[in-house]
């Protein structure tokens, strides 16, 4: 049995079912992200684990104990909120010590633990500052220290980086992951930012309409999406409609070109999903599927050149690395693009084969 076990979890508000038959086993020390657009139910799942929402049905077990009937203050869970939620009337040290104080921990032990936590988040010497005297990133680190000070069994992170600016977001997410690894604390992280989820998680749960569409490692989620939604939501995806010419051999037609997927197909029409980095400008020697198109626009971003083009009537985007000896193509010119069949995501109806 897993350390944190969520089984058949459902939640309805009135007649609206916001979480539907949600199942997720999480191992001890694992970092799992719930990723999805707003309204997909990810925060509701997190709040049910925290105890702020009561499930309509289903169970949540932590270390073998069903916690559904327990109040939030009986669950031994740490939580970090999007808005930091530091107590504005308390100093940094008092905020971090809050959970210990209400549990009746002795002052000496409290002080030692606060010092340890401030060292962990790199804010030694900030003990007497008030939250308004800290930057957003510092406040969120204090919130993390406050959540960890009570040595919770599970750490819940509710979009903790959303309110921060881009640069801090990247550094703090690495810091969070580093601390999580060092403490080996079981963590659920809610985010709508796919890059965040992919970069720091052991596993990602992609949610849509209250359902877990796919659970897997970031590499698997990105490269082998199991549903059309996952393929389109995670990462940028070029979609090109194709005609099936021969189901058995997997021959397809794209525009005026034909190509083979090398595997049997089940329907007559399908959509090809191509990641921008899988599409190459020009004819590559080791790639055997060649598409014709026209360059629409070129954005020079420094190390990367982002090209917008039209292929088989569809707008596509591809990224190539900058090479000083090769100037970017000019907009308006005709071009060939190549892609390796293995890099294609074949989206037949709802599920890919």
């Amino acid at each position: 049995m897993s350390f944190l076990e969520i089984e058949h979890l459902e939640k309805s508000f009135g007649s609206v079912r916001v979480v539907k038959d949600f199942n997720l086993p999480i191992e001890k020390g694992e970092f799992v992200s719930l990723l999805g657009p707003s309204g997909c139910g990810k925060t509701t799942v997190l709040r049910m684990v925290a105890g702020f929402e009561t499930p309509s049905t289903g169970s949540i077990r932590i270390d073998g104990r069903d916690v559904v009937s327990l109040r939030p203050n009986q669950r031994n869970i740490g939580m970090v909120f999007q808005s930091y939620a530091l107590f504005p009337n308390l100093t940094v040290a008092q905020n971090v010590a809050f959970g210990l104080k209400v549990k009746g921990v002795k002052v000496a032990d409290r002080t030692a633990r606060v010092a340890e936590m401030l060292r962990l988040i790199g804010l030694e010497g900030y003990d007497d500052r008030y939250p308004f005297q800290l930057s957003g990133g510092q406040q969120q680190r204090v919130a993390l220290a406050r959540a960890l000070a009570v040595q919770p069994q599970v750490l819940l992170l509710d979009e903790p980086l959303s309110a921060l600016d881009a640069k801090i977001r990247v550094s703090l997410r690495e810091e969070i992951r580093d601390i999580q690894r060092r403490l080996a604390i079981t963590t659920i992280f809610v985010t709508h930012d796919q890059e965040e989820a992919l970069s720091i998680s052991d596993r990602v749960v992609v949610m849509n309409g209250g359902v877990a569409e796919q659970v897997g490692q970031p590499f698997e989620i990105y490269n082998r999406p199991s549903t059309r939604f996952v393929a389109e939501f995670v990462g940028t995806l070029n979609l090109i409609e194709a005609r099936v010419l021969d189901r058995d051999s997997g021959r397809i037609g794209i525009g005026s070109r034909e190509a083979s997927l090398g595997r049997p197909l089940t329907s007559d029409r399908l959509t090809l999903g191509i990641r921008p980095e899988a599409l190459t400008l020009g004819r590559a020697a080791d790639r055997d599927m060649v598409l014709e198109g026209r360059i629409d626009d070129v954005h020079f971003l420094g190390s990367v050149i982002r090209i917008q083009a039209t292929v088989a009537g569809e707008r596509v985007m591809l990224d190539t690395f900058n090479r000083p000896g090769t100037p970017p193509p000019a907009p308006g010119q005709a071009a060939e693009f190549s892609v390796h069949p293995e890099d294609l995501l074949v989206l037949e109806g709802e599920r890919s084969p």
């Binding site: 203050n73 939580m79 939620a85 107590f87 809050f98 209400v102 549990k103």
Partner: protein, 279 residues
């Protein structure tokens, strides 16, 4: 820029003509004899038992009505903001509070005399239908508690109006953060919510105190001169009957300014202590 200053003119003129000049007139008059020579006699005359007791009863009524107004108003505002009462109650209650907090003077006094006076509707109904004679039990509308009760009619709504936005400002996440860190409801209120609200609570208390301390029309309409609170004693000195001594009146008003000033000084000091954590 000159136009912007022009916008300030009308109300500044109002304030100078009808607040600052009269106040200065009172302060100067408190230290003058009727013929204009400087004196401390008016102020020293305040220290006679009847006037001191008038101040004392005024302060007690003001503190009592401000405290009760704060407690009851807070409970009601908490009920509509945090208590999960149906949303439709909030609008009407706040609108009613806006009206009731300005309900004072003769109409308010009459309303209470007509309901809780010796022959008031409620008094009679209680006596005839339920056999409860509130006056027999010691209640008297024209007394300390009677006047406090009447003042509560505008004190409670005023508290509701002022504290509701402050309660709305309590973030749901603070409560949840406290809860998940192991705090009980009372612990959250003691360690987080009340300290955050304290500056607003102190401010409202100071306002309610001043509101009651300066109220004259309600008290006069209700009790005539049977309850000697400062505004009534003052009124007696300036309205021109046998007691007339306008300069003692000035001194009484000056004394009220001092009391209100001390109350505000305490408020400012407490507020500075309780909001070190704000910008």
């Amino acid at each position: 820029m000159p136009l912007a200053w022009l916008g300030m003119v009308p109300f500044t003129l109002f304030a100078v003509l009808f607040l600052i000049l009269p106040t200065m007139n009172i302060v100067v008059g408190a230290f003058q004899t009727p013929d204009g020579t400087p004196t401390f006699r008016n102020v020293l005359n305040l220290f006679q038992p009847s006037i001191l007791s008038a101040y004392w009863i005024s302060i007690r009524i003001s503190v009592a009505s401000a405290l009760a107004g704060c407690l009851i108003g807070f409970a009601m505002a908490a009920a509509i903001t945090l208590g999960g009462l149906p949303q439709w109650i909030r609008g009407p209650l706040l609108t009613f509070s806006g009206v009731a907090s300005n309900f004072a003077g003769v109409p308010l006094a009459f309303a209470f005399l007509a309901t809780l006076g010796r022959l008031g509707l409620v008094t009679v109904i209680l006596k005839d239908w339920f056999g409860i004679n509130i006056y027999g039990l010691g209640f008297n509308l024209l007394s300390f508690w009677g006047l406090t009760l009447v003042y509560l009619f505008f004190q409670i709504p005023l508290m509701i109006l002022i504290i509701t936005p402050a309660l709305d400002g309590l973030k749901k996440e603070w409560r949840e953060a406290a809860e998940i860190l192991g705090a009980s409801g009372p612990q959250y209120w003691r360690m987080v919510a009340l300290p955050i609200l304290l500056p607003s609570l102190l401010g409202t208390f100071a306002l309610l105190f001043a509101n009651a301390f300066g109220a004259v029309a309600t008290a006069y309409a209700l009790t005539g001169s049977s309850l000697s609170i400062v505004p009534i004693v003052l009124f007696a000195q300036i309205r021109g009957d046998v007691l007339q001594d306008p300069h003692l009146g000035y001194a009484l008003a000056f004394g009220m300014i001092v009391v209100t000033g001390i109350a505000n000084g305490i408020y400012v000091w407490l507020r500075a202590r309780t909001e070190r954590w704000t910008r």
